[in-house]
């Protein structure tokens, strides 16, 4: 379930990049040009597309709140945001780790293919929309329409889920510890087997929650598989 993470050498010094003095393009170019290393980005002030498109095992720490599409398309890098993230956090992420310590706005992890996204606070609407293999762990709650049309991967929610969780879901796995306001079309509660408990435990451990949160305290939700399979009785509707 988990992909192996490669992180930067702990011994390498932090390189400071301050957006009070540098443009977003300059900062992103510095990151894109680096094969490895540790970068600390200061004064983000809600800037868009920070640390997007990284393809090397960098460690990036952003000191403050970020704007749209932070760490989008991430490959291999570890990006930590010491603040909140706006719309489209880690969208289309491929691998690596993105960890937002605060809240995330709508569409966090949208279309993500792989890696791990950890959100320390709440995620707003449409978290994990069209999920394609990324694993998302949200320590707070998620808003409405989360995991809409999710195809693969896992969404783990320690808090509650809003309306229409997993609407039109394919094969992603959804784990919610709190309440679910309502389930979307074709999303149903499913039994938690040993395989699911083991997989969930690995995800909780990867998110730093081993020993703090029990996998058995979650309920599992997934596709009833009635919507996306051809059914002869529905022929008239096609």
């Amino acid at each position: 379930m988990m992909r192996t993470q490669r992180t930067a050498e702990v011994s390498s010094p932090w390189i400071d990049l301050d957006l009070a003095a540098l443009s977003i393009r300059t900062v992103n170019q510095r990151l894109h040009d680096a094969p490895e290393g540790r970068f600390r980005i200061r004064s983000p002030r809600g800037a868009h597309a920070l640390a997007a498109g990284l393809t090397t095992p960098l460690a990036v720490r952003i000191e403050g709140h970020v704007g749209y599409y932070c760490a989008g398309m991430n490959q291999l890098a570890t990006v930590v945001v010491a603040g909140n993230a706006s719309t489209g956090l880690a969208e289309n992420m491929m691998s690596g780790l993105v960890h937002v310590e605060g809240d995330a706005s709508q569409s966090a992890g949208a279309s993500g293919c792989g890696g791990l996204l950890v959100i320390g606070g709440n995620a707003a609407a449409r978290c994990g929309i069209s999920l394609r293999g990324l694993n998302i762990v949200v320590k707070g709650s998620v808003g409405h329409m989360s995991a809409f049309m999710a195809q693969a991967g896992n969404l783990v929610v320690l808090g509650d889920a809003g309306d229409a969780l997993g609407d039109s879901i394919y094969e992603a796995r959804l784990f919610v510890r709190g309440t679910v306001k309502s389930l979307g079309a074709d999303c149903v509660e499913k039994p938690m087997t040993g395989e699911h408990l083991a997989g969930l435990s690995r995800l909780l451990e990867a998110a730093g929650l081993a020993g703090k949160v029990e996998a058995a305290s979650f309920k599992r939700y997934g596709s009833a598989r009635r919507l996306y399979h051809f059914h002869i009785d529905n022929l008239g509707s096609y």
Partner: protein
């Protein structure tokens, strides 16, 4: 896409800086709405005076228009001008003045009417509009600003936000409404006056109408959830109040922040970043279909 900012001061010591801070916020939302911009400032009222804020559609003689309006309502009008805007102040019947100006004067648009509210707007780069209309110098208790990227109607001064149809009430909108034509007809039958084809003006008129019927700001917004169909993030100002509402789908972005000194709204966090003390603010995304409202003492 549009950009919205709002700043509601709780600490009166910041009131001289209201315009300056609102200008910094609006600057951050320039690229969300580069075609036009506007702002409403709630300034300290002068006892007994009603202010009407006007903008010229074509060159006109404000002093002559003030005299005509004064004759029409049977009261003196004091005129102040700023660029293409004018403020008419009167101790007479403000409703009659607004009615006269909308019905009889093609050369000007009435932007607002009230004891406290002043609305200014323009077409073009938001920063140039702020500078030209002196936003940074304006003092007051709360302000709402908007940068517009037009989708539903023409790029004109009249189509710029904020919209105001009721006393000291204004609304800015990011989104689009789908049932505004029918609702406009209903409101016209109830005596509301419209000056544009804009969907957001209908939302403003709906709230003003509900509050005239006796609703509080919160009740009027709860009614809007039922009456308005479409996408919206609204920020609404009244003489003593400030409110935020998002539609149930909540596609249009919104961030709220609050400290002991102020409440602030931004379409994005960028707009809040210049505010003093933001590093210690409580920051959250307003939930869908939920009314958030603040009131200050009269």
């Amino acid at each position: 896409m549009c950009g919205i900012v709002g700043l509601f001061l709780k600490n009166a010591a910041l009131e001289p800086q209201l315009g300056h801070l609102t200008g910094l916020m609006l600057h951050e939302m320039r690229d969300r709405g580069p075609d036009s911009a506007g702002f409403a400032v709630y300034a300290a009222p002068s006892p007994g005076l009603t202010k009407l804020c006007l903008v010229a559609r074509s060159p006109l003689d404000w002093a002559a228009l003030a005299r005509r309006t004064g004759v029409a309502i049977g009261a003196e009008i004091i005129v102040e001008t700023l660029e293409d805007h004018a403020i008419f102040s009167t101790r007479g019947d403000g409703d009659a003045a607004r009615r006269f100006l909308i019905d009889e004067v093609r050369e000007a648009t009435v932007l607002s009417q009230g004891r406290s509210i002043e609305i200014y707007k323009g077409v073009g780069d938001p920063d140039r509009i702020s500078a030209r209309l002196g936003l940074a110098q304006k003092a007051g208790s709360h302000a709402i600003g908007h940068t517009r990227m037009a989708t539903e109607s023409a790029v004109t001064i009249a189509g710029s936000h904020p919209f105001s149809t009721g006393l000291d009430t204004c609304l800015v909108h990011n989104g689009s409404l789908s049932n505004h034509n029918r609702l406009r007809e209903t409101l016209v039958r109830h005596g509301e006056r419209f000056q544009t084809e804009n969907d957001s003006e209908v939302a403003a008129a709906y709230l003003a109408f509900r509050m005239k019927q006796g609703d509080s700001l919160e009740e009027a917004l709860a009614g809007a959830l039922e009456a308005l169909d479409g996408f919206y993030t609204f920020v609404v100002g009244t003489e003593y109040g400030f409110a935020v509402l998002r539609d149930p789908i909540a596609c249009k972005p919104a961030v709220l922040a609050e400290t002991e000194d102020w409440v602030a709204f931004g379409s994005e966090f960028r707009a809040l970043a210049p505010l003093p003390g933001v590093e210690h603010a409580r920051i959250w995304e307003p939930a869908p279909a939920t009314v958030y409202a603040w009131t200050r003492a009269a």
